[in-house]
Amino acid sequence: MIELSHIHRNFQVGDQTVHALDDVTLTIKSGDYVSIMGPSGSGKSTLLNLLGLLDQPSSGIYRLNGKDVTALSDIEQARVRNREIGFVFQMFHLVPRLSAAENVELPLILAGLPPEQRRPRVAEALEELHLTDRSHHKPDQLSGGQRQRVAIARATVTRPNVLLADEPTGNLDHTSGQDVVRILEDLNQRGLTLIMVTHDPEMGSRARRQLHMLDGRLDAELAGQAPDTPRHDTP
């Protein structure tokens, strides 16, 4: 359960204040599928970063599962990011010198998990994304779609509740983009809260909730036609 109330995020550029988020109030239920659309510079990424605790609001309250997370210390925020939130980026952001498996392993290392507990979970995450035979490949030996699948495996290996994706298909061709979205939707089917920023109206319209942003404000919301009926029974 994500609750934002009266969130503002201002940037000071010279003597000018940019209102990247302007009084955003929003509630997202667990297991929901939300797409965020809007013109460039409307504050989509800022909102997503805030939801992922990568950024702090200038004012307003952010509750995650009932807990005010903006009041947490650095270390506690890092812990929440590690345990409860997964990120998928437009640029993939894989560590180039690490293999696919090692990239997926990273969040588990940061969680302080011992190697014998990490290995099966990494293998499982790769298996789920059909990457088992690519696990020893370096990112530059993988296609864009495969890279994004590695990134998704990395985002989900800690079994988070929320998956934040900022234009996950932005650097992919149409087919691999479709693949990636299907994978994300599949994860959502299994209970993961999916929040995805996209420029593609066709993709955005697949979400159950479609948020539109303009100049840092939530402009309009549409209820999607929800291609599949989501199951809520699996946690």
């Binding site: 990424s45 970063n49 992922g52 990568l54 950024d55 650095d74 270390i75 890092a78 812990r79 929440v80 990011r81 590690n82 345990r83 990120f87 980026f89 640029m91 952001h93 560590v95 180039p96 010198r97 690490l98 090692e102 990273l106 969040p107 290392i109 940061l110 969680a111 302080g112 011992p114 190697p115 990395r154 800690t158």
Partner: protein, 404 residues
């Protein structure tokens, strides 16, 4: 929540291998710093040991008497009256035996003359000495025996020759018992020096030793080059020195015209000077380590900005600022450790080369220098990485991730 140390080590190792040019640069800087400390201190230590060894080979508890005052500072009666200093004589030497504190003495005369046997001839250093010299100098006889134990004024025509002289004059033929000619006199070879005999200024292998009285006749002089006086113990050195000065002053009409050198004073001075020298060069080399530390700081700063995206990603994946600091410091620690070990190897190889090139110089870095070099390397490596590590920990993840 600190990750397991093997994981940290593996991650840092991967990061180092991921940027080989940077890693090599820093390793080299560190290694050169450490190697410089090791080599320079080993040179200093080698020089100190060389000098100490040379003094030890001169003999122990020695008081050396030289004619004339070498500390010519200021006025003294001899210079005032325009006299040349009085010579040291054999009687002076004999007078010095009359103290309980004196164990033995050896008057010495030095000159050079042609030495020949049959048709072969060469010029050689001739050392006039006495029976006692062998023990005072801790020399060894290889063949035959040393000068006989007779009165100092007996000019017995016998000679003990160095092995080089022996080889040059006799080749493979036996030398013992042969008569050789020194200047215009004939001497019988009674002994050949062992190879140990080496001391400052004298190579015994190139020397012919004859009784001091014979040398005085040969060079037509009554004076001595110096008198070696061996004190009974270390504590007796100062009493012997006073005794020598007093005795010779009385014998020379109250004029202090000799110089008395105690070897342990000279040795202590050399030891101090060379010890200080070792510290000094060690310190200078340590500065190069500090320079290496600054280089590490700069390169780590570059590394952090090079890897901004990676650090931002680690934060997004849930790395706390402390974890980031640990990762960066682990990298620096690994680098310093590897660099220091590499430097140690380089430095030890360097001193090995020096030992081979100059066998007389026992170049060996002292333990304190090695330990200090390693510690300084690791501490500078860590210290100078604190700033880059903190900078990395404070990176704004959003900006870090959005940068290309």
């Amino acid at each position: 929540m600190i990750p397991h140390s093997p994981d940290v080590a593996r991650f840092s190792w991967g990061a180092l291998r991921g940027y080989p040019a940077r890693t090599l640069l820093m390793l080299t800087a560190m290694a050169i710093g450490v190697a410089a400390v090791v080599v320079l201190t080993s040179l200093g230590e080698g020089a100190r040991r060389y000098v100490t060894g040379e003094f030890a080979s001169l003999g122990t508890n020695l008081v050396i008497v030289l004619p004339g005052r070498s500390e010519t500072a200021g006025l003294n009666p001899t210079t005032l009256m325009g006299e040349t200093p009085r010579d040291l004589t054999l009687d002076d030497a004999l007078a010095l035996t009359r103290s309980y504190n004196v164990r033995r003495i050896a008057p010495i005369n030095v000159g050079s003359a042609d030495v020949s046997w049959q048709s072969r001839s060469r010029e050689s250093v001739i050392l006039g000495a006495s029976h006692e010299l062998l023990d005072i100098r801790h020399w060894k006889i290889a063949q035959g025996r040393f000068l006989p134990n007779t009165d100092l004024d007996r000019a017995t025509p016998v000679a003990v020759i160095g092995s080089t002289i022996r080889n040059e004059l006799f080749g493979a033929k036996p030398a013992l018992g042969e008569w050789i000619r020194i200047g215009d006199r004939r001497f019988r070879v009674i002994g050949i020096m062992g190879s140990e005999g080496r001391s400052i200024g004298v190579d015994v292998q190139e020397t012919v030793i004859i009784p001091v009285a014979a040398a005085q006749q040969l060079f037509n002089t009554t004076s001595l080059f110096r008198i070696l006086v061996e004190a009974r113990s270390r504590d007796a050195i100062q009493p012997v020195k006073r005794f020598v000065i007093q005795t010779l002053q009385e014998r020379h009409q109250g004029i202090k015209d000799v110089t008395v050198v105690t070897q342990d004073a000279v040795l202590a001075t050399f030891d101090r000077i060379l010890g200080a020298l070792t510290y000094a060069v060690g310190g200078i080399a340590a500065i190069s380590l500090a320079v290496a530390g600054i280089l590490i700081m700069n390169v780590m700063l570059v590394a952090v900005s090079q890897r901004t995206a990676e650090i931002g990603l680690l934060k997004a994946l849930g790395a706390s600022p402390r974890q980031i600091i640990v990762l960066i410091l682990a990298e620096a620690l690994l680098l310093s450790l590897l660099g220091a070990l590499l430097g140690l190897l380089l430095g030890e190889a360097g001193s090995l080369v020096i030992r081979h090139a100059f066998p007389v110089l026992p170049a060996q870095a002292p333990i304190w220098a090695i330990v200090t070099a390693l510690l300084v390397a690791i501490i500078t490596g860590l210290l100078f990485s604190l700033l880059p590590a903190r900078r990395a920990a404070q990176l704004d993840p959003v900006l870090a991730l959005s940068r290309r």
